[in-house]
Symmetry: D2
Subunit: 383 residues, 4 copies
């Protein structure tokens, strides 16, 4: 039986453009379905660069205007890998053209934009998803399963951090290719939208709604040369952001993110403490879930380091890969997301995080920045 | 040459009474000096129990009234191991009798009490010290050395937590022997005074003054049977306390403490991130200091797990113990403190933390509780 | 400029067939070169299964007779992923047809077979390589670099183990698809050829020639049902194999492998102790290299956990993947091997391990089995 | 009720003299019994040094002739902390005087000496014990409990190593105070008697009798200056020793010891793999036992890091120390041994390892050295 084509139009060719492309190519080999992903077109303003990208990754064609891409009838799904400030406009146009959308995180520059986007995709009824890929690291998915099975009991604490150290150098410029994350105009915010967004998404998924937050932010390097203007300009992003929160379920949260934690490359960790079980995960050793099970016999109770690599249904996604003990990479999380997106199409049950789910994170981000500015607790708006 | 006697009068016989007594007995064997510690008298209201304690630990005599103890002419130093609500009164009386004082932490119920105590000891000129023993775990002392040598460069972040799980059980009573830490009348506060006090003391020592704090507290179990009244009573302590802070040096702090983190027995950890070096320590593996040295060659840069057990001057205190690789216990931190206290007596240079040092922690604790109550940032008062 | 095609003929479709196919598809995206890998044909006796495999992975055609495959003029390279007992015959036929060969490890059933194969490929001058893929885990490649730079000084010790636990179950059958590794007729040996072969290959690469060995083997489960005959038959493989050795450089080796080490999935670890530096690696956390550098200052000397994920020339292969902190999987080692194989073709400098290199491992394996049988030290034959 | 005195006569004042003395002083405080340990006399040839030692540790008197010490009627137990070559003579003399004996490990220079010693103490009926102190690290004692409860099922593998790096320096002399372990005349052997002896003792305790062994030894530095003669002399000890073995229970063993493993201070580790459970311990983090329990549910099965610090009967000895999470040191193992020795006296059930137990280790050591010399498997003699 012939497979149904899923024709991708990719906008962007950077880090995420590559990660998604790899996923599109792997998905049929590891997660066969009734759909066949076709890399139809890649789009970016720089004609030469997007051509080279398309050739390397096997896209059939290129565009230099995203508006043309979203109108092409031979495209089924638009993948938005641009800086954050273009997400909304592209998403709305893609929606108008009835395209399915896979949008990079964070969903938007703020909740107001996000609400528009959610309203649009819901009204149009187009499939939509946001690339909060960490949900689909097998160890993280396993954590979700354990939570959903009710094993943790009453939750007392959730803590997460995402620590990096790559912007300590004061002569690093802001803006432009590879560095737009330092430019507030393109990124909207600093570590909060870039890193904490991941932590918040996972946290909502595992522990539910955040009711109120209290945050502080800091910009350690106040001015940086801007790549686009060539001038030294004020840095508008947050270099570091810490916040406390209270969850709807009564538990307490503690979050921290920075790009000034010397020694940490991408240390995203989370821990959740329940009455009966606690869980801990660390992106640096992403194939392990640490589990403390209070029901274990006292004599031999301790944190278990679960190497989430069994090719059995015990370990999410892993029955599709290798044999026990052989770890998959960070990149596999994207392959899993595409597999689930397709499954959503085939079953009619959309897989999260949808735009609507991602809007909830956006509301928390707004509250955080608001709180940091005012030095006070802020209630998180309903999405 | 005959040694000078240092005659100890111990008040209390619980966990700390034992830990200090062990230190007094070990100090002469591992850190010989011109002083000889003599366990002169142990004191507690229960005559039978203090008698048994004195016998087991070799105290020459007992008292059941601390007021009599502090007046005895054959006592040089009073060791206060009582619940927090008695620290001030005993300390003032001991000062009036010109005794040196070693007081358990936290110094007092609040900064106001602490100020009285500081004023008294300073006016009387009696040697004084507070048992913030973690400063003298060799790995922690090594951290201090590295900071003092200026190796870290500009500091960006400090984070600490002290997580336990022993009060999750709702039918655990409050008050009385072994459980006074749950009784606000005896303890003054919950995890903040008991656990965060340690974190704050170390933090001030390593990273300097905290300017302002913003905290939240929670009491998960609202009522517990009271051991002294036999009735179910409201719980007045904080079961959990999280706070953010800004340091005078421009760095950001993040602290958390709880007795509801399932899986953690006494997980006191701290991390300090400097421009050039970061340090991490964990009480559960107290003999290791994790060091990230940015000056290391890129190819082989990583967190070093330093096993702080070399019997050489490289590793503080360790030249007095065993051979490389053989870890000493938590208890040794008290032995080191007594050794340093004696060295302070002999050199005339008081070793910290003095009452004055400990008052600084008390001011932070006051600010935290104040902040949590008001839901706002609070400036830390000057000690 | 048009790329030169490298047309692959794959024999086998199991675990390794999939791993290699993934590498062929990824290589051009991550390691672009002047060659384009084309999946020309996949071959296996079962027509239906190989057809499904070809479809899933994108092979253009299928064969059910390997003899036909090796004769096809539209194939440039034969990839041998069959059980060990077919390596030699296929390799010789492929060589006769002037095909390049990528052969799964171990090279052969024994050194005698291996010698024939080496002689054949060398006489024919065909490119050849063996899939000892662990050499190309970035952390392992980094270890090799450090050794080659002379940083370790005189070597005293090398130790390696490869521990699994998947055959403890006594009712696991031997023979046939997925279980031929338990059948001595197909595999030649048990853990020695399957697991120790990897350890020995890395060890020769890092520490040079093994002069003499002394081994013991054990078969814990003496009889198992045979999948092909349907009868309970004697187990001919070694379930566990331990050996000591002396290297040509004067250092001592200690190796162990088993499939009966409860709790270990694929615990391949090695450690090398030099006068000035020691290195440790563990497949379970394959992205980390542990480095002890004696030249570090004593005070902060310790094992460094190097997260080998920097996208810079510091960390082999990693500049082609993601950003610092994001680990790649086990599978990437195969992608790296194909990239290097192509580089060998383009530069004319063959990349190891060649058949000749792999023969050296085969000689060690022969010596081990000989030693275990005779209970005595055995000199390793020259390759 | 008055306690019964246990009057100790200590021979030696080095590392072990200090460790034992600390234990004698601590035992009554942490493990009260009907006995009171009295430090009656300390003995060494150097009058001045032994005097200083006695003063520092509180011994009532000193001797410079051990023969006089063992005859003193006011001594109940002789503690032998001399170099190995004096153990036998002293033990026989002590036995003749009906003294109880606590002898440092290894028991003797060889099994022949050990047999004489066992015969003597058994004939005289004097209490006797050997200081294989690692049995009484709580995590190790817990391992023994788990084995005795039959939790491991059939055992397949035992592996242990004891790695150090302190003799790499070629200009380190041999012989004399602190360095007699490098002098074959005083020590009898090198790492085998010093380090492997510990590994073998634990192994016999946990896994039973070793039937046969096959070993290799190496002396990396062939000549060293001798402290006693002042001349460069041949080094007679083994710098490194590796051996394989077969146990009476059918399991396989793998042992390694060296003083040339750069980066390891005192890395004594052991692992035992059973059908149902595996255990791992590491002296560098001595308060942790790693437990893999195959009976755990597959989804969350992993190695548990048990922090053996609960003050409950779950964790051996720990109910006598502090509170959960607070680790005790290496030194506590000696305190535990004295406590158990006294319990043996009080209950009439001698606690191991007795001389007889330690002789078994001596027989293994003889077999190892014999095997290494002959390059062949050797059957372990019956003790």
């Amino acid at each position: 039986m012939a497979k149904k084509q899923l024709r991708v139009g990719m906008i962007g060719y950077g880090f995420m453009g590559r990660a998604h492309s790899n996923a599109y190519k792997q998905v049929g080999q590891f997660f066969p379905s009734n759909h066949q992903v076709v890399l139809k077109a890649a789009c970016a303003r720089d004609a030469e660069k997007i051509k080279a990208f398309a050739e390397q990754w096997g896209y059939e064609s290129t565009e230099t205007e995203w508006k043309k891409l979203v109108e092409r009838p031979d495209i089924d799904v638009i993948d938005i890998c641009t800086p954050n400030n273009m997400h909304k406009e592209i998403a709305l146009a893609a929606t108008a053209n009835k395209k399915a959308i896979l949008c990079e995180k964070p969903l938007a520059m703020n909740a107001a934009e996000g609400r528009e986007m959610v309203a649009a995709v819901e009204k149009a009824g187009v499939p939509n998803m946001v690339w909060y890929n960490y949900r689909r690291i097998p160890a993280v998915t396993l954590a979700k399963k354990l939570v959903d099975e009710g094993r943790l009991g009453k939750i007392f604490h959730y803590r997460a951090k995402f620590l990096q150290d790559w912007t300590i150098k004061a002569d690093l410029p802001q803006g432009g290719q590879g560095l737009w994350r330092l430019d507030v105009a393109a990124a909207g915010s600093g570590v909060s939208g870039d890193l904490l967004a991941h932590c918040i998404d996972t946290s909502i998924w595992l522990n539910g709604r955040l009711d109120s937050v209290c945050a502080m932010t800091e910009t350690f390097v106040k001015e940086r040369m801007h790549n686009l203007t060539g001038k030294v300009e004020k840095v508008g992003i947050d270099d570091a952001c810490t916040f406390m929160c209270r969850y709807a379920n009564g538990s307490l949260g503690n979050f921290e993110s920075t790009r000034y934690a010397r020694g940490h490359k991408a240390l995203y960790t989370f821990e959740i403490n329940g009455e009966n079980m606690s869980l801990f995960w660390d992106l640096h050793d992403l194939h392990r879930l640490q589990v403390f099970d209070y029901k274990d016999e006292g004599k031999i109770r301790g944190w278990k380091s679960v190497h989430v690599t069994d090719n059995s249904p015990d370990h999410p996604y892993m029955d599709k890969w290798w044999v026990p003990g052989l770890a998959i990479g960070y990149d596999a999380s994207f392959t899993h997301q595409v597999a689930d997106f397709i499954q959503g199409l085939e079953t009619g049950k959309p897989q999260g995080p949808t735009f609507k789910d991602a809007l909830e994170t956006q509301c928390v981000l707004d509250a955080i920045l608001d709180s940091a500015k005012g030095g006070k607790w802020v209630t998180v708006a309903k999405s």
